[in-house]
Symmetry: C2
Subunit: 266 residues, 2 copies
Amino acid sequence: MKISIIKIGGNVIDFPEKLDEFLALFAKFPGHKILIHGGGVLASRFGESMGVMPEMVDGRRITDKDTLDIVTMVYAGLINKNIVAKLQALKVNAIGMTGADGNLIRSIKRPVKGIDYGFVGDIQEINTELVDTLLSAGLQPVVNAITHDKKGQLLNTNADSIASALATSLAKDHHVNLYFCFNKAGVLIDEKNENSIIPLINEDIYAELRKENVIHSGMIPKLDNAFEALKKGVHHVWIGKAENLLLAAKGKKSGTIIERQRYDLY
Amino acid sequence: MKISIIKIGGNVIDFPEKLDEFLALFAKFPGHKILIHGGGVLASRFGESMGVMPEMVDGRRITDKDTLDIVTMVYAGLINKNIVAKLQALKVNAIGMTGADGNLIRSIKRPVKGIDYGFVGDIQEINTELVDTLLSAGLQPVVNAITHDKKGQLLNTNADSIASALATSLAKDHHVNLYFCFNKAGVLIDEKNENSIIPLINEDIYAELRKENVIHSGMIPKLDNAFEALKKGVHHVWIGKAENLLLAAKGKKSGTIIERQRYDLY
């Protein structure tokens, strides 16, 4: 079957109006779809109100026991269940899930190498059979960033990595497209100009853009991950603004499409 | 199919060791099973740490917007996902759910009649088709006390009512038994004597016990609810201590069995 995996982040989740707008678009998005979300600033805000301050090492958040409890409450509870209820009202048969539910995503606690990230999970295995069962029953999974180690421990996991891992695992048997909703309109030639979107990037174009230093710093790991997903069989990866998602679904110009080899998309 | 619906409350959830012991028993419980849980004192504790004090009217908790957010985080997030992760480690293919997930339980906000209970939901409809799909796929639902109105609103719902509603709805097509884990060993002749368990109550015995005032006050609504479930087709209702659940499953003497008409159980 054809499956779309759509990831949203803090720039959608943190703004109730934007989230509602996005969910209305998501409801209209055709075919089987899986929504992946993290938590944005809500987890930090709740943590602070409970006296749990975010602990950072080298600019990275450490997930201690209290922080894990908070992200579990905020991601898997507050955000996930409100998204599910809103999608149900929009006639999407959403089912909210962590990686622990039905053993959807098994991860391992990141080994300590210099920095101890605490209860952070690196993905090991996706239960694609479960996804098949749910999609075939007309359910649309809404997956948050909490996974488990199958030994009873919940783990905090990067939502981008969950989206990529789900996409590549499902790509073995299905036609999978991956959509990253981003705070910019796509991959831009000029970061300050939202009209300078590069509509299509393939391996040749990517090599060229890197050579000319048009793509640099933070975009490099994002695009490397996208090409990694394509190599593992994902059909295409889209990066763009949440509000342009439907245009993307209809194959209309919006955001950046990343593909291994160019083909006539537009 | 044969389905067991097992409800646990604060006297299990609030004590990590007791919860672990219970989950080990639940894992060994034979056949298809659905676990129902509320939240115990954890929600109040988290609320207070965030400055949200429980608001009570006539001894009943009012669910305002902040309280709803907290119970959603604690029931659907913290408690539900930790139970699921622990059951997964015990090789139970648990899937955690609110009533919003897959539209499992639709409720309506309780109408204001004198007291405004706030975001409290009274159950309207159970999605038994979804339960069939999940159980047939080898999944064991773990259901918490959050439901939704199918219009985008989450609602706080009594976990005992969820257990009864699931049991009676599923009883139309299945052989359903309902187990209430309680803070006493069963229905007792002498409240202070845990050895005075009444092993079996049917309609005749119940009438007699009420006439003699052996069963009074708080036990009456519990037993009325149990007989209501039996009238709607539930096979039997068990009331007893969580640690005796496996004995109950094996048909051994433990707790109180409630049935419409006596039959030779032991």
